[in-house]
């Protein structure tokens, strides 16, 4: 039996509704991002020249950690209440509902992070030339992080305390994203062409959109078989 609404759009809508119902929980990565970023000037130095030098890297690392925080929950509740099993025995391609869930995840984590990042940029004295590239690179980059993180979340969904294993699994895969993400911001600050690193990020995102849902579908089937 299948509900025809349960495709890409159906899962996108449902996960957004679920996120809205527990918005306090969903907002915590964003609060984490803002709070930890305010610690940096306190811990290093309020000197704007030194902060400006570190800002691109720090903002990117914070965004990565904030995304990682929320990734674990991506499939956890569906696994616990049995919806995941219902999804697995529904007569449709698994990749599309999965992609819908990931888009919903990005809309409630990556997108808000991108939108508040100029604020953090100002706080860390990021030069104005870096603001737009930072937002662009975060928008593309956090989408990559959501997709890659979802593969790890699918693999570790059946584990009680999968959080640490998840980090160990996905952080190596996050490396290219953070390299090109912060490179885009740094290039813009140095007055170089920042569209190059951004294009690489866009290419990574395209590859991830095409490949990650397949890997996730495989991982979910594997996990349910145990």
């Amino acid at each position: 039996m299948i509900a025809e609404s349960q495709g890409f759009a159906g899962y996108l809508r449902r996960d957004l509704l679920l996120a809205y119902r527990r918005r306090g929980e969903v907002a915590s990565p964003l609060i984490f991002f803002v709070l930890v970023s305010t610690l940096i000037p306190l811990g290093i130095s309020p000197d704007s020249a030194r902060l400006a030098e570190l800002a691109p890297g720090i903002i990117w690392v914070m965004a990565l950690l904030a995304t990682l925080l929320s990734t674990e929950t991506l499939f956890a509740s569906d696994y616990q209440d049995g919806s995941l099993e219902q999804l697995l025995i529904s007569p449709q391609l698994l990749a599309l509902p999965v992609l819908g869930k990931i888009l919903a995840h990005w809309l409630v984590t990556g997108l808000p992070l991108t939108l508040v990042s100029p604020l953090i940029g100002l706080m860390l004295s990021l030069p104005a030339a870096g603001l737009l590239p930072m937002m662009a690179s975060l928008a593309l980059g956090t989408a990559c992080l959501s997709l890659i993180g979802a593969v790890g979340a699918a693999l570790t969904v059946s584990l009680r305390k999968g959080g640490l294993l998840l980090s160990v699994l996905v952080i190596p895969l996050y490396m290219p994203v953070i390299i090109f993400g912060s490179a885009a911001v740094q290039s813009a600050i140095d007055g170089l062409n920042w569209l190059g690193p951004l294009a690489v990020l866009a290419a990574m995102l395209s590859a991830a959109v095409a490949l990650c849902p397949l890997a996730i579908a495989g991982a979910l089937r594997l996990v349910s078989n145990n």
Partner: protein
């Protein structure tokens, strides 16, 4: 068909195998004489599985849950009727976390009214359901059988339903289930 067997005998595992949630390590599941892998869409489109974890989302209301789990063509009136039938009138717009365990199960069982599937797989459907609920479910199962549907359920209760055959699941037994 009723599956019986001691705790841990493999009733749930058997049912998950039949619904293709689990892949068998040996042997195969046939649907109308064909392996289910070959007619996956057709088969899965025609089954309804309610397991131990019923797929009910705690933050959604009973109505939203049922709407999500029902075919897209189901009208709002049909949803309301199905929730009435399982005795959830008045609870339809309350978030499910404030309902009891029995009521969660009733939300899941309301799917039986909206589903158009011919084969029902029900794993311990009577868990935490009260006496009246058990009777209602029995009537629903009988009606489904009379319509020509098939029911596979696991339960420890004795059900007075005509035509219900019992299979005892034992570990390491080779059973061929005629479906």
């Amino acid at each position: 068909m009723q599956l019986e067997g001691a705790n841990g005998a493999g009733k749930t595992t058997l049912m998950r195998l039949m619904t293709s949630a689990l892949q068998p390590t040996s042997g195969k599941v046939l649907y109308l004489g064909r392996p289910v892998q070959d007619c996956r869409y057709e088969y899965l489109d025609n089954i309804l599985y309610i397991g131990h974890q019923s797929g009910v989302k705690m933050t959604l209301s009973a109505e939203e849950n049922l709407r999500w789990m029902s075919p897209a063509s189901t009208s709002a009136a049909e949803i309301a009727l199905a929730l009435d039938a399982v005795g959830l009138r008045g609870y339809t717009d309350v978030p499910c976390y404030s309902l009891s365990a029995g009521q969660h199960r009733r939300v899941a069982l309301a799917r039986l009214s909206t589903s158009k599937a011919a084969i029902w797989y029900l794993d311990e459907p009577f868990t935490s359901i009260d006496k009246q609920g058990v009777l209602n479910l029995q009537h629903q199962l009988e009606a489904h059988l009379q319509r020509g549907g098939a029911v596979v359920l696991s339960t420890h209760q004795n059900l007075p339903i005509d035509g219900l055959r019992t299979y005892v699941v034992e570990p390491h037994s080779d059973i061929g289930l005629p479906l």
